[in-house]
Symmetry: C2
Subunit: 303 residues, 2 copies
């Protein structure tokens, strides 16, 4: 049901049982996966098994899932998606500049039917683990960078060989909501729609990111208003028309996306240029630093 | 025509001629201005002379102008607004996660009719100058903070008594666009609609910020699409229905806004709490740092 990406092989966060599944399915999915992270490949094709089509009343959105970083969350989200669980649910908590959150009615039978998930907000890295570095001494992390087009934070251990890494809450990331307890996420999820709430890093599980149609996420009806303004009627909340794995969408309606390969030399060059700001527009140079959440990762539609 | 806020008195960026105007108008505007930045006042009422009503086809937006930081830009923008200059112009450069930019047709007679503006992107501070501090060693600035609800960066001079301060490009800020030359802005302006492009700080003049209806700015039609997608027809670009100084709007249609007084003890307390993250939700504490662009400044509608 879920295609495991080859990249997951060296992911130390993976549980033993998932590793077994992976061993069995790796060969089968080599082609379906379609990932090409070689240094000379500017673009990376997204697997249809690993891509979600979210249809909103006002537009279509494509999400890339991140099973290499949060396999259990992706597995559950994919399964619910295939069951049509999210169809007709509402974005019931939408705060401008912060998040757009959706899910079934709190405490309903449907809501309680879904198993709770163990946190997958960060993972241990070994000395073979690599990423594309962006910035040292970022306000929220010792190091920032990208892996597989996902923005991340990294903190080395004292031994210098191992460390901890985590996906970071940039605009467009998709994460699972939870109650106060760490391992209390189930089906409710949110998109980040404003300035990166990095204080949620490492305590919320990010499991995907928007790769197409982010403007439609930004147009979701806000549910919270400023004091003194008219409340928004819940009947006006934005509903999910449907949520489908792209591989389950009829061929004619599939949206095929490629994203910038952040492991490429091309991307590394782009980071160097972005930091240097050599264009004549910069008559005075900004500090030579990069906010990992302010580096747009390009997508292109190939079909 | 433009109400000068009392706070401007101690703004060293102000030109001599504007100071003269201020001296003449200060008494007159004491009441119209309505600012109350005393430490025990949680809210600050916005002057109708210093507030702009932007009517979009899909909603109403209120902008607070910042004459105390960029008087010349505010004067020109206000004058153009009162002339109906922006009515029916389009948001012709709208890039998701970055900016929504509007203005007259490039190179048109209307476009060329507007005087160029000298940059007002930063100002010198003296030792009496104060602000509400937020964070040291921010990625882009030695210090960050707020003054009059505007986010800013600050860098002390070697003498420790003086320094430079600048408004910073948080989501919702309004700034004047320009060509490559520093002093080439005239009438084209942009809203920041994504992760703060802080590399534009100090080289672009910010002159206001959205205090109401930001969700409508986020819903402006994007004009740039991903590669391989259908181009957006220019007839579908979002048009400005009207742009008016709030004081010129008929009473029944005025929107009166108060914003959080960032000079208040209440706000200082809120910063302490936000940094500490003491709620049970934070089962593991994030780093005790604050991104100045990720601190929502509350607004409320009072009429």
């Amino acid at each position: 049901m879920i295609a495991f990406n080859l990249l997951k092989i060296d992911n130390p966060a993976m549980t033993a049982s998932l590793k077994s599944i992976l061993t069995l399915t790796t060969l089968f999915f080599i082609n379906a996966c379609g990932a090409d992270n070689s240094a000379d490949s500017v673009w990376r094709e997204l697997s249809l098994n690993n891509t979600v089509l979210l249809t909103l009343p006002h537009g279509k959105v494509v999400i890339e899932l991140a099973p290499q970083f949060s396999p259990i969350h992706v597995a559950q989200f994919s399964q619910l998606t295939q069951q049509g669980f999210y169809d007709q649910t509402s974005f019931y908590r939408v705060i401008d500049g912060f998040v757009a959150q959706a899910g079934p009615k709190d405490g309903s039978k449907k809501d309680r039917s879904v198993p709770l998930l163990a946190m997958e907000a960060e993972w241990q890295t070994d000395k073979k683990w690599t990423y594309t570095s962006v910035q040292e001494n970022d306000l929220f992390a010792e190091q920032t960078g990208f892996k597989d087009s996902f923005a991340l934070g990294y903190q080395a251990s004292n031994d210098g060989n191992t460390g901890k890494a985590w996906l970071t809450h940039c605009p467009g990331t998709v994460a699972m909501a939870r109650n106060n307890e760490a391992d209390s996420a189930s089906s409710h999820f949110y998109f980040v729609i404003g300035q990166a709430p990095r204080y949620l890093d490492r305590i919320m599980t990010i499991f995907g990111r928007v790769v197409y149609g982010m403007q439609h996420i930004q147009a979701i009806q806000r549910t919270e208003v400023v004091k003194g303004d008219y409340a928004v009627d819940h009947r006006d909340f934005t509903k999910i028309v449907s949520m489908q794995l792209m591989s389950d969408v009829t061929k004619a309606d599939q949206i095929h996306i490629e994203v910038e390969n952040t492991e490429s030399t091309n991307f590394a060059d782009r980071l160097v240029k972005r930091r240097a700001r050599d264009s004549a527009f910069f008559y005075k140079k900004p500090p030579p630093v990069l906010d990992v959440c302010q580096i747009p990762i390009r997508s292109r539609r190939v079909k």
